[in-house]
């Protein structure tokens, strides 16, 4: 035990005496570990955020869309594009027939439009939503001042608008906005409500938004294209039953023959999380591969530097052997040195990776995360790289002939 402690001290000593060389050797390991830990940290932060925010959205809410959340490949895209569009009538049909649902909303979105009030205008609005009254409970956005859209607004295509707090700041710094008339897409709208202030999401403010009746939305942007149907089940126990019910209604309304696949997609927060996990798995595998390759290269670098170190210290090895060092003493001394070298690199890599990952995470307004599992895996793998790359040089050192080593100058 004493001997190993000493080998350890000797190794620390010889590494600190060669600071520049040690540092250069470390770079490969640092990059390898920092990249994997950085990616894993960001992923963990995103994942925590996704799970939290999607569960806030409500475990009872689900959506019906024409195409999946994200297209998988070009061939699939073609298949989805040829589907019949989803229309407001479909939402109406569901609202009429479904028994297990609480709210059925029809909605559509666009981005980057400007609202004007007298001489003022907003930054391009992040989210423009055409909606029905159910938009509010289904999305979890509630009106703070004034009122939300009503069924009458939708039925009579009234030019009314509900806005976010950022729009209020831009247009009405000193004026009570309710009842004021703003210009949007060349038409006059009456402001009827303000949505309560929201937190921001992935660096995007959710207060920079406006909501108008979906019928008005279609007058402006056209009736072509598919809308979204958001549905909330009466309770989370009823969620699966509600989904089955909606599938049955949608197939009937869209005249899908028995045995054929659905010509629409249904997803909820759980399937979004599943989708995210799927996507992040590929990203993780990619980053593991990159890290693995850079760690292998770094391992070769360590082996090389250890070889040089053994040659340089031939005399020292000879002296130690003359004084009674056995093969195992020399072997452990050099092995510990190699492991220490790669573990130091690993530790620096972990620290850099966690910092980097969290910088990215905080740019996206996510909370700080540390991927403990990957930290441990990374450090274990670094030790392994150290042992693997240090073993051959260490063995070479332990096998040196004491007489010849003593003669070495």
């Amino acid at each position: 035990m004493i001997e190993y402690f000493n080998s350890f001290m000797i190794a620390v000593e010889s590494l600190t005496k060669q600071k520049l060389r040690s540092a250069l050797t470390l770079i490969g390991i640092v990059i390898g570990v920092a990249s994997i830990i950085g990616i894993m940290t960001t992923m963990e932060a995103i994942q925590t955020y996704m799970e939290k925010s999607l569960s806030v959205l409500g475990s009872t809410v689900f959506q019906v869309q024409k195409t999946p959340f994200m297209n998988v490949g070009p061939s699939d895209r073609h298949k989805y594009q040829n589907r019949k569009d989803i229309k407001i009538e479909h939402a109406d049909a569901i609202r009429d027939r479904a028994k297990k649902v609480a709210n059925v909303g029809a909605e559509d979105w666009t981005y980057g439009r400007v609202i004007r009030y007298k001489k003022k205008s907003t930054e391009p609005v992040y989210l423009v939503s055409g909606a029905t009254p159910e938009w509010s409970p289904n999305n979890g956005y509630y009106v703070d001042v004034g009122r939300f859209l009503t069924q009458l607004d939708v039925d009579y295509s009234r030019f009314v608008m509900v806005i976010g707090t950022e729009v209020v700041e831009d247009l009405f710094p000193f004026i009570y906005p309710i009842g004021e008339t703003v210009k949007f897409e060349g038409r006059n709208f009456e402001v009827v409500g303000i949505i309560e202030e929201q937190g921001s999401e992935m660096g995007q403010s959710r207060n920079n938004m406006l909501v108008i009746p979906i019928t008005v939305y279609q007058k402006i942007y056209g009736k072509e294209g598919s809308i979204n149907i958001t549905i909330s089940a009466k309770s989370s126990e009823l969620l699966n039953g509600a989904i089955d019910e909606i599938i049955t209604i949608m197939r009937a309304v869209r005249k899908v023959a028995p045995g054929e696949d659905n010509d629409f997609e249904i997803f909820n927060s759980e399937s979004l999380i599943a989708f995210w996990n799927d996507m992040s798995r590929n990203l993780k595998i990619g980053s593991i591969l990159i890290s693995f390759i850079s760690l292998m290269v770094a391992g070769i670098g360590i082996m090389n530097i250890m070889m040089v170190s053994v040659t340089e210290r031939t005399k020292e090895i000879g002296i130690r052997k003359a004084l009674g060092a056995r093969k195992k003493h020399i072997l452990t001394q050099f092995l510990i040195e190699a492991v220490l070298l790669s573990l130091t690199g690993g530790l620096i890599g972990v620290i850099l990776g966690v910092l980097l990952g969290n910088v990215v995470a905080s740019l996206m307004n996510l909370s700080i995360a540390i991927p403990w599992f990957w930290v441990v895996v990374g450090l274990i793998f670094c030790s392994f790289v150290g042992i693997a790359s240090g073993f051959w040089p260490a063995l070479k050192a332990s096998r040196l002939d004491p007489i010849e080593s003593l003669r070495f100058e």
Partner: protein, 232 residues
């Protein structure tokens, strides 16, 4: 008591084209407490017999008993153990590790002997005091004079209380005055009861010893007791 007993020891280096007989059948007995000088011109086999006596090398043929144990058949690790426990080396070029202090250098054989931290520090300090370096313990070799360095090396050789001190040209890198001081140290160590073998080509250094063995072409040319040693 016989400390070293070698019988018909040959060492042949096979260089492919030719075979070099560095030792060509050497027999020798060394008793505990002796003070021996091994002399001879270069190429006489001085270094070879030194390496074999010091268990750094094994003979091609012949037998070597060290305190009754046959070392000529030992493997590397067993030889390392003998070197560590029974033999203290002093080299011409000191062979101290440059980056560690005198004290740490002296501790090295104790580390490989598995001596605990506290008692090895104590022992290392003790032997450094014995060689007159109590005030130089934390100096590194490059902060010491040649004579002081060789004293550290002697202290290191003494650290494990070996059966024999093997000194290879211990004054070869020192000026004559410092060399004499080192020889005074060796004489003191011998008087304290240690067995010493010096390898040297300087007559005046060899004169310190009580027995002088002269090698020539891998054979013992002469082996004479020049002074009766007082130790038993």
């Amino acid at each position: 008591m016989t400390l070293i007993d070698i019988e018909g020891v040959k060492k042949i280096y096979d260089l492919g084209a030719e075979k070099i007989h560095a030792l060509d059948g050497v027999s020798l007995k060394i008793e505990r407490g002796e003070y021996i000088a091994i002399m001879g011109p270069s190429g006489s086999g001085k270094s070879t017999i030194m390496n074999i006596l010091g268990c750094l090398d094994t003979p091609t043929s012949g037998s070597y008993y060290f305190e009754g144990e046959e070392v000529s058949k030992m493997d590397d690790n067993q030889l390392a153990g003998i070197r560590n426990q029974k033999i203290g080396f002093v080299f011409q070029t000191f062979n101290l590790l440059p980056r560690i202090s005198s004290l740490q250098n002296v501790e090295l054989p104790l580390i490989y002997g598995g001596v605990s931290l506290e008692s090895r520090r104590e022992r290392a300090e003790l032997v450094l005091e014995r060689v007159g370096l109590a005030d130089r313990m934390n100096h590194k070799p490059n902060e010491l004079s040649g004579g002081q360095r060789q004293r550290v090396a002697v202290a290191r050789a003494l650290a494990n209380e070996p059966s024999i001190i093997l000194a290879d040209e211990p004054t070869g890198n020192l000026d004559s005055k410092t060399g004499e001081e080192i020889m005074v140290l060796f004489n003191q160590i011998h008087e304290a009861g240690n067995t010493i073998i010096l390898v040297t080509h300087e007559e005046y250094i060899a004169e310190n010893a009580h027995r002088i063995i002269r090698l020539h072409d891998g054979l013992i040319a002469s082996d004479e007791v020049v002074r009766m040693h007082t130790m038993n």
